[in-house]
Symmetry: D2
Subunit: 291 residues, 4 copies
Amino acid sequence: MTLSGIIAYPITPFTNDGRDIDFHTLGKTIELLIDNGSDAIAPLGSTGESAYLSQDEWRQVAKFSVEKVAKRVPVVVGISELTTQLATEKAMFAESIDADVIMVIPVSYWKLSDQEIQSYYRTIAESTTLPIMIYNNPATSGVDMAPELIVTMFKEIPNVTMVKESSGDIQRMHKIFELTSGQLPFFNGCNPLALEALCAGASGWCTAAPNLIGALPKQLYESVINKELSVARNLFYRQLPLLRFIVSGGLPKMVKAGLALNGIDAGSPRKPLLEANEDEIKALEILLSNI
Amino acid sequence: MTLSGIIAYPITPFTNDGRDIDFHTLGKTIELLIDNGSDAIAPLGSTGESAYLSQDEWRQVAKFSVEKVAKRVPVVVGISELTTQLATEKAMFAESIDADVIMVIPVSYWKLSDQEIQSYYRTIAESTTLPIMIYNNPATSGVDMAPELIVTMFKEIPNVTMVKESSGDIQRMHKIFELTSGQLPFFNGCNPLALEALCAGASGWCTAAPNLIGALPKQLYESVINKELSVARNLFYRQLPLLRFIVSGGLPKMVKAGLALNGIDAGSPRKPLLEANEDEIKALEILLSNI
Amino acid sequence: MTLSGIIAYPITPFTNDGRDIDFHTLGKTIELLIDNGSDAIAPLGSTGESAYLSQDEWRQVAKFSVEKVAKRVPVVVGISELTTQLATEKAMFAESIDADVIMVIPVSYWKLSDQEIQSYYRTIAESTTLPIMIYNNPATSGVDMAPELIVTMFKEIPNVTMVKESSGDIQRMHKIFELTSGQLPFFNGCNPLALEALCAGASGWCTAAPNLIGALPKQLYESVINKELSVARNLFYRQLPLLRFIVSGGLPKMVKAGLALNGIDAGSPRKPLLEANEDEIKALEILLSNI
Amino acid sequence: MTLSGIIAYPITPFTNDGRDIDFHTLGKTIELLIDNGSDAIAPLGSTGESAYLSQDEWRQVAKFSVEKVAKRVPVVVGISELTTQLATEKAMFAESIDADVIMVIPVSYWKLSDQEIQSYYRTIAESTTLPIMIYNNPATSGVDMAPELIVTMFKEIPNVTMVKESSGDIQRMHKIFELTSGQLPFFNGCNPLALEALCAGASGWCTAAPNLIGALPKQLYESVINKELSVARNLFYRQLPLLRFIVSGGLPKMVKAGLALNGIDAGSPRKPLLEANEDEIKALEILLSNI
């Protein structure tokens, strides 16, 4: 199982003031992402408010997504749990429903030592045969995994096979490349770094942007692959203001607001997250119409 | 309900490789803290691994603690939840079991805006008549509440009546004092800042240290109250190396290791948190014997 | 030579759009500082725009200050040079004019290693018999000296005998105290930390505030010495808004503006530093009148 | 005057324990840089220890460099001064000796407001007809100029025509591009970001690396221009370990050590900067031989 290209992140839509999951709309956005050329679908990521769901909700969304995608592309299921036990249970469930990959981020309350992080991943990895994508996103998870640690786990844990780097620091990607002579596939998880990550050798781009701007991210990826650097640069600068805006406002809030502007009512994020306010919606509308 | 002095934090002891709660030992440590002169007991704080417990476990620990303390001193129950819904349910439960205060920290995955934080506290506050202590600890929760925001909530939400400041920045306490002319009681939540916080006017000190060093924190508090500044300084520098060590190593891990050295087997923290390693235990032993 | 209490920092007044030094006003402010009970006078510090003067101007200000103070209190001459050579020349000059102490801060362009910092201080120390106060102020100098490094130099270089800590981190002062069992005298160099530094055992407070608020800083120092903690706290919170304001606006600019409000025309800082604007002057006026 | 490609930075070699300038070796390194295809020569930059020279030395190096280059390529003279007055004098001198461009960085002791920075650049710009390259390098200068400020000065000050961005943050370059629709030429000043900066549209790369690795930087530049992205990536990863090493060790120290390994004795940096130690020299030797 090797992934490349655009790994697209659905939101998790709620009805009823954030209380119930709206599977109908979830299905619609999954179709939208596939239609836009996504090379994989990744439910239950940061964009999917994974950390805000109950265990039961998480299972329902995972199962629904795998069934909806129906092997048209690989499904990467996100796991973000504070305890090793719950993360392991989710990993086993993901395998049981025939997901293709799990993407695992160790959220923290107390800071984790490298040894604790390794033990976390090792325990999860031993519970499943699925390939694991390490997900580093210190801004949301509170855990920052250095390239050296990531590479050690890649070398020592057989089913750790990919990494999504969302720290926003291109030097991390350089280091991962160097330490493995390019053998550890890394994916860009920081939207405003997409051009550079791909130029530096990223295997792909993990992004929720296709929810709002269709095939543009895929076109950027392909133009880099095809060495059309001026085309890539133009495509990147065209998307960049929107990418920056949805990231800085928070992806669940902004993607849901953008979907609404495009005619898909995906409800509000779960509280305490609030929906976009009027100023944000106006700014988003302008950004979308300018693309 | 006004608190002052030492608010002491029990650990949550586990048996069976971190899977079950050891209520017998929990009871013992609560007695230990009361014996050492604690002015309030605060189960389910950061030290109590609140964030790592299931909803059901959390309820059991809260109930047990309230019953064990049995009104000898006030019980401050800690709530650290990602969603407003779950935090509100816990607040109502705390009231139902006759806890005295709830201490609330809004842990985050996606960064929260000030409006989202206010809405979080307001919703919780409306669900209970218990007094609420705002708990600011950006290093663990990922949410940093500025003094201005804290003071706004104190002024606008009737049952927000106290704050525990654990950012480690004494200037935050100055600002809280100034903005309210000293009317908002603030508690020090950063052990290595205890002397200065008390000198700057803190109402008390929230600490797990009495688990390991008995009445020393209380003596420090009292010497400041009695204006015996040289005594206070001596007491502080005597405790400081230990305080710094248990904070930097992580309180659940280090307090449990220290209790074991003192003859109380409190088990290990819940995974991915690991127990203290040999070097840490040796260092802790030396620090404890030097006091 | 041991110092304690208030070490007061004169500004360097300029005439003629910042081009020439106004010795008449310099003399006036030195008298003002002595009248307000300062225990030492420290020309050519950060407040004195030391780094902005030509070598010749620096020498003139140093000589004038020593003569003006005329041994009524010790004179601490500030040296902030990029190269070891120029710093050494100034140290020798300070001794030649009979200054009492030199306060040395190693400003940087390229980051300095600990070895480079030690070599810098050692070379300067070997050129003079004057006692040296190490001055740590990373925000202005770009060099951050850890307590461990400072203590090493204190132990290894005979005439390094004091330290001014301006990082604003009270934990640095704790560490200096611990590493030397209180034997290395440390001075607070961060105005909004004055109360806590003195409570934690600082020998004194290095400050430009007496230029504007007379004997208040000295009273704060004495109330801590006399263990009148409530008095100290009141004095501190009374001064704090002003202290914070002049620090955040930049001391040369704000002290000069404040002196003007008090009837002493000290001119503008040297360009690119600009004088306080109207809003700043108004805010300063209110803060001064509220004390 | 528009620049593009590789702007190469000579060191300033000293003889006699850092006291005198070694013009013979300076000439040799300038020839070396031109031979390696440099598109411009930039004496008196960070690498050239500009901030560590006396006014007189600075003038001699500027004059010598312009004469040595003799219009074969443009000469960009670096100015890094604390006061507006001295910076202006240097700007006028640079014009008087027929330099082509001045690169100006406002080093700071007291933090500068945007207004102070603008006034600094404006005053310098009014003293000369030379084009000015704004140089942003917060790590060395202590001044961080946001893209918005840089663009404002580009729009308002006629002879501000280029920017060298050394903050290491690719997002700054994105912002400069966006705010000017690509009209403000920006140069990469952070060696380990060379590939990404060029891919993102940088006009060139300001670097001391050609002192040690000959034409490799120029080849990287050209491969990006020619859209040979895999070639560029290979060239970049080949150079990267060395680039990272010389930056983190300090360019003057490391470039001088590397020149010595290549048979050019360029002496030591000026104190307090020390020469590379044995371990550093060994590491450098390995990195150079691996390329």
